[in-house]
């Protein structure tokens, strides 16, 4: 028996999922595109990787990928983080597609927690891995209730929450998974990207798909859709700003990771988007700690 299973298991359908399942997922994706920001339930399959580790994104990617696609997978903006490596390896194995770390070369980019710094184009699809798709979940734990709130467009509790933040802290104390309104209708969780990335969702030429495997939901932002971060007139939305440039490539206006250098408070800030940072360094840009500093303080305009 075990030998039969072992040999049988080496023969997967293209992109792992059977064609019926892919069709079911594509139907959910089409519905999601037709109703921007609306969470479409789908019969999420058990994937050979843990729930909560990107199974939603993996199923969306598996449903849309074709043999000619070029896949990029990032986690925390980087291509070489372990889970990104594992997911890229999965698609290489079960779909034998070309992979890349270059944002500009990719036709499908699966991501966890970041939107690439390099602007996307109309020929690309960005697939987000989503842990908790429901933006109202931490205000109302019941799905039966939150679905009603969405149906009625009753987002009062969310505005109260944001207001209470301002009352307590003087500002909206949400720094990632910052809620947005899509196409003037549904409030949507953009997945746990930093709010720094929120403006990139708005009027984006690329199709953006969101897959939550464990929670069994798919949602979408079609190309060139209005995506507005929630705020108040007197407390407008403000993305994070970093005071120093990337220590390796000198970029400013990009999201930076803090790296602890020693146990005496020494630290540096480097691009979270490794492809963007490598590209700038290859083009000769140098940051403070990159060996041969030619320049620094350059804008994110490469």
């Amino acid at each position: 028996m075990s030998e039969a299973i072992a040999t049988e298991r080496t023969a997967y359908n293209f992109a792992y999922l059977d064609e019926q399942t892919k069709r079911a997922i594509r139907r959910a994706i089409l519905k999601a595109i037709a109703i921007p920001g609306y969470q479409v339930p789908f019969a999420s399959r058990e994937m050979p990787m843990p729930r909560g580790w990107g199974t939603g994104g993996v199923q969306v990617t598996a449903a849309i990928i074709g043999p000619d696609d070029v896949l990029k997978v990032i986690d925390q903006g980087a291509d070489d983080t372990t889970n990104a490596v594992a997911i890229r390896g999965f698609f290489t194995r079960v779909a034998n597609v070309a992979t890349t770390t270059r944002t500009v070369e990719a036709t499908i980019i699966q991501t966890r927690h970041r939107v690439p710094e390099t602007p996307l184009n109309a020929d690309q699809i960005l697939v987000y891995q989503v842990p908790i798709p429901e933006p109202l979940r931490f205000l109302e734990p019941r799905e039966t209730e939150t679905r009603k709130l969405h149906a009625l467009a009753d987002y009062g509790t969310m505005h109260v929450k944001l207001y209470e933040d301002i009352a307590h802290f003087g500002e909206i104390a949400t720094t990632y998974a910052y809620p947005v309104t899509v196409d003037g209708r549904y409030v949507m969780d953009p997945s746990p990207i930093p709010k720094f990335d929120n403006p990139k969702l708005d009027d984006c030429p690329a199709l953006q798909l969101f897959g939550a495997g464990r929670e069994k939901r798919i949602y979408a932002v079609p190309p060139h859709t209005r995506v507005v971060s929630l705020d108040f007139e007197d407390h407008p939305f403000a993305p994070q700003r970093f005071t120093e440039p990337c220590a390796l490539c000198g970029a400013t206006g990009v999201f930076l990771d803090e790296v602890i250098l020693d146990d005496r408070g020494g630290r540096m800030f480097v691009c979270s988007d490794t492809d963007f940072c490598n590209g700038r360094q290859a083009a000769g840009h140098r940051g403070r700690l990159a060996g041969n500093p030619i320049e620094s303080g350059e804008g994110a305009d490469v």
Partner: protein, 361 residues
């Protein structure tokens, strides 16, 4: 000088190599085979089949070996494999009243048609660790002539008097399948039972226990627990009748619960139902308790306890989902953490400035 963390691929490969090495254990000690696990750790295999939702002893045993005895990991392996299997058809409902019984006990009647059959059980053993177990050759088991006629279910015996609610009528509707269609709450009892059958034994055990301690108390009696082999039949269109595919071992628990009557329902005993692959008695009993607790709304009872809350129970009973999300906290969260650090530093600076100002006044 900062060097970007490269080489994730090599690190993963090496970690998996090390894991395979540790899985083998001391090479001086003979390797355990899947067949040995199947035969000698049979209850672990039963649990993996039940919560893995796939009746395949050999595959479950192999999964346990691959998972180094981590049963939740083994269940996950089986589930991921199950997800790739084609659906060739649906079987006829199992007829557990025609079970070839190996164990059958009732806590509600001292004696009853078919009798009490203890079968292979830990019950009444003294839980003393047996230092002489290694190398012990057990004596041949005692045998008796098999019973020819079917053993009626206790709930069917009580049902004749109308003292216990009857089984729901078969209204011809297809039972749901939560692995093929998304759940939308409230769900029917069919989906609830499917979810409970796949649910984590420990979670259901704790919830069932909570109902006994007063959180949705419903005065349960173990009406009957039976374990044995049942035939699996499939209806063949071309033949016009059902044919037997084979037999499987199942454990069934019918929990009988007091009920004072409410609304249109007269005072009568109500039921909770548990069914597992193999011999998973604890799981079947816990499942029956939770099934009954989840029927609170249907029976017009107050819904006040966790075990009665359908969305809470069903959304959190699946250990493959639960372990994935809990363990995903191991994945990098640098970006979100960085965002929080930034916010906290700003809030902290404001707080310090305010404190300083206050001290100066």
């Amino acid at each position: 000088m900062y060097v970007a963390v490269k080489g994730g691929e090599a690190a993963i490969r090496n970690a998996h190599r090390l894991m395979a090495h540790e899985r083998r254990g001391d090479p001086e000690v003979p390797e355990v085979s899947a067949a040995q696990i199947d035969g000698q750790l049979a209850l672990a295999v039963d649990r993996v089949m039940t919560e893995g939702s796939l009746y395949d002893r050999g595959l479950a045993a192999l999964a346990i070996k691959q998972a180094r005895g981590d049963l939740v990991e083994a269940i996950f392996l089986v589930r991921a494999f199950r997800a790739t299997l084609p659906r060739l058809g649906a079987t006829e409902p199992l007829d557990t009243s025609n079970m070839a019984i190996r164990r059958r006990v009732s806590a509600t009647f001292k004696d009853l048609p078919g009798g009490q059959i203890l079968g292979p059980t830990f019950d009444y053993t003294h839980r003393l660790i047996d230092g002489a177990l290694d190398g012990f050759a057990p004596p041949e088991p005692a045998t008796a002539a098999p019973r020819e006629e079917a053993v009626p279910r206790v709930t069917d015996l009580l049902g004749e008097e109308g003292l216990i609610e009857p089984s729901p009528r078969d209204d011809g509707s297809e039972p749901g399948d939560l692995t093929r269609e998304p759940l939308a709450f409230p769900i029917g009892r069919d989906l609830r039972l499917q979810a409970l059958a796949r649910g984590d034994e420990g979670f259901l055990l704790a919830l069932g226990y909570s109902t006994q301690r007063g959180f949705a108390r419903s005065h349960p009696f173990a009406g009957e627990i039976r374990m044995g082999e049942v035939e699996v039949e499939i209806f063949v269109e071309e033949l016009g009748f059902a044919v037997t595919l084979g037999t499987i071992t199942v454990t069934e628990c019918q929990m009988v619960n007091q009920f004072k009557g409410a609304g249109d329902a007269p005072p009568q005993f109500t039921r909770g139902y548990g069914l597992t692959f193999g011999h998973c008695e604890r799981k079947a009993m816990a499942m029956a308790l939770v099934d009954r607790a989840l029927r609170a709304a249907e029976l017009g009872e107050d819904v006040s306890a966790p075990a009665q809350d359908e969305e809470f129970v069903i959304m959190h009973s699946d250990n493959v989902e639960a372990t994935g999300f809990v363990e995903h906290l191991k994945l990098p969260h640098y970006v979100d953490f960085q965002s929080e650090l930034d916010l906290l530093r700003r809030l902290r600076a404001e707080w310090d400035a305010a404190a300083l100002k206050e001290a100066a006044q």
